[in-house]
């Protein structure tokens, strides 16, 4: 459905997107993952014909984004990072406007407006001013706007940013429900989001493609090495953190133990393990030594860690050094 070959966008000072190639098949949900400033938005803008690429090519549904942009635009629904809403318009009126812009006829338009309102759960704000809607509703109206003309391809730029957890869940469910009818590309910098909604992941960093893989493969890669947070304490006696550290290091599968926090009656360690299943052994080791196991949990696998594993870069968080995309 979407083919991208050597797509490049260069600005005067830096390269925002650097020779990216990937392919998305019909009906797939693909997560476009990368830290802020990785070039996600720029890539999406090139796919939606908003920005012309410096070099390389991209086709959507068989049409070239540069040569046949009109055909591409007809087949794409796009939700930019901030939903493109006119604050002085009412929801239904706005959807009618967008629908007619996308070329829907009058009879079809009314039907589609009703349909997307129901689909995106915005029936109750149909006659409200867009400027008065809450963030969650704005996002959903944005989604409704993107699917109004039943496009083949949906491109969603950070569809859940700025929403509260409940709204995030609702939005994710909504997007999942839209798959099948549409081919979806969504960008995000949150890994769990990709895990929950997408089948395929495209990871980019600093404008370069880092990996394209299925979500399950990526999860396995990430789980290959797990970081656990272990808090060990004692009821009455003081705990010598060095002793605990030595004991933890003895557990098979543990590759490194790092003392993170030390208090009088408890200490916290970060345990890096190679295998996925050392938790039970860790717990037993602590309890058998007569200490209390206050806490044992995996630290969330952060995007940085995945980058670390995939790119072999030093531990500095890429999100912080990434060049600002300069597309705003």
């Amino acid at each position: 459905m979407i083919t991208v070959t050597d797509l490049t966008k260069r600005y005067a000072r830096h390269t925002a997107v650097d020779h990216i190639s990937f392919e998305v098949h019909k009906g797939q949900i693909v997560g476009f993952l990368g830290p802020n400033g990785a070039g996600k938005t720029t890539t999406m803008r090139m796919l939606t014909c908003f920005l012309p690429p410096t070099s390389g090519a991209a086709t959507v549904a068989g049409f070239d984004v540069l040569e046949q942009s009109f055909e591409v635009k007809k087949r794409i629904g796009y939700l930019p990072e901030t939903p493109p809403l006119y604050p002085e318009m009412r929801t239904a009126e706005y959807l009618q406007f967008v629908g007619s812009l996308k070329g829907l006829g009058k009879a079809e338009l009314a039907k589609r407006v009703d349909y997307v309102c129901e689909r995106c759960a915005i029936l109750d704000v149909k006659d409200k001013l867009l400027g008065k809607l809450s963030k969650g509703y704005r996002q959903r109206v944005g989604l409704a706007q993107a699917i109004i003309h039943n496009p083949d391809v949906l491109i969603l730029d950070e569809p859940t940013s700025g929403l509260d957890p409940k709204q995030i869940n609702e939005t994710r469910e909504l997007i999942k429900g839209l798959a099948g009818d549409h081919t979806i590309i969504l960008s995000t910098h949150i890994l769990p989001e990709v895990e929950q909604t997408c089948e395929q992941v495209i990871i980019i960093n600093k404008g370069k493609l880092v990996a394209t893989d299925s979500v399950s493969n990526l999860q396995n890669r990430a789980r290959g090495a797990e970081t656990l947070l272990v808090e060990v304490g004692a009821r009455n006696a003081l705990v010598d953190p060095l002793k605990v550290q030595a004991r933890l290091e003895l557990v098979s599968g543990v590759s490194r133990v790092h003392l993170k926090n030390k208090r009088e009656d408890r200490s916290t360690f970060e345990v890096e393990s190679r295998k996925g299943l050392v938790r039970g052994d860790l717990a037993r080791a602590v309890v058998e030594a007569g200490w209390n196991l206050n806490e044992l949990r995996p630290t969330a696998v952060s995007l940085e860690e995945i980058f670390l594993q995939l790119t072999g870069e030093p531990a500095a968080a890429p999100a912080e050094e990434a060049v600002p995309a300069g597309v705003k």
């Binding site: 014909c49 908003f50 930019p80 990072e81 318009m89 967008v98």
Partner: protein
């Protein structure tokens, strides 16, 4: 063509659901009303004077009321036009809705024409208010209606040119105030250019005063349909809209 109408309708709705349109209409009505009262008052005063002297002077409503009134409208337009055009593109750029337009199957030209037409309609509805005053003139006087129609045509042409320039300036910034102020500056400049002809007759002065939008309105105000001046305005309209299209395109390459 259908898309032009869709954009135009949307813009008109934006004008008329916000206070912008009503504010402009009200301001225009008050200022025009003042001029009307003033000019008509002077006309009546002169009429009484000539009667008291006992000698009838030839008096012409077209020459002495309608012509100065139309000239005044054209100057008021210079002040109000920036307020009509300043939001057209600046606001879309600020809120990001420009991305919606740019990724819809609509050409830039259609968007630009739609927006410019909506501005024209708003200006035309301001002119419509003056019809009320002219109705009074027709009720109590017997002016010729043809020069009036030509005057209106001239006003529309002149406004079209300035609105096209304002539309262009609006694509240059995200900030409505900057767009408005710059447009006002340009409008003002295009007005005062003619003042050099007052003391200077060299070629450069004639060229400068020729560029003034108001000089070209004079014949329309008299009721003369002058092709030369109509072409001048048409050229300005084309130039303004053409620059807008270029600017829209460069937006994509720069942003």
């Amino acid at each position: 063509m259908r898309n032009v109408w869709i954009i135009c309708r949307k813009e008109l709705r934006s004008y008329f659901v916000s206070p912008v349109a009503y504010l402009l209409l009200a301001m225009f009505a008050v200022i025009f009303g003042f001029f009307f009262w003033n000019i008509l008052g002077f006309f009546v005063f002169r009429g009484m004077e000539s009667q008291m002297r006992g000698q009838m002077m030839p008096m012409n409503v077209n020459e002495e009321v309608i012509r100065p009134l139309l000239s005044n409208v054209s100057v008021i337009g210079l002040f109000l036009i920036p307020m009509i055009t300043m939001r057209l593109f600046a606001e879309e750029k600020r809120t990001g809705t420009i991305e919606l337009l740019a990724t819809s199957p609509v050409s830039d030209i259609e968007v630009i024409l739609g927006k410019w037409l909506s501005a024209m309609v708003l200006y035309a509805s301001m002119l419509l208010l003056t019809a009320l005053n002219f109705l009074f003139i027709f009720k109590y006087g017997h002016p010729d209606w043809k020069p009036l129609v030509i005057g209106y045509l001239g006003l529309l042409l002149q406004a079209g040119a300035l609105l096209a320039i304002g539309t262009f300036i609006s694509t240059l910034t995200k900030n409505q105030i900057i767009a408005g102020a710059a447009t006002f500056g340009v409008c003002l400049l295009l007005w005062i250019l003619e003042w050099v002809s007052g003391y200077e007759t060299a070629t450069w002065a004639r060229v400068m005063s020729y560029m003034s939008v108001l000089t070209h309105f004079e014949s329309f105000a008299k009721g003369l349909l002058s092709l030369k001046d109509a072409i001048f305005y048409a050229t300005l309209i084309f130039l303004g809209l053409f620059l807008t299209a270029r600017s829209m395109e460069s937006l994509r390459w720069r942003s």
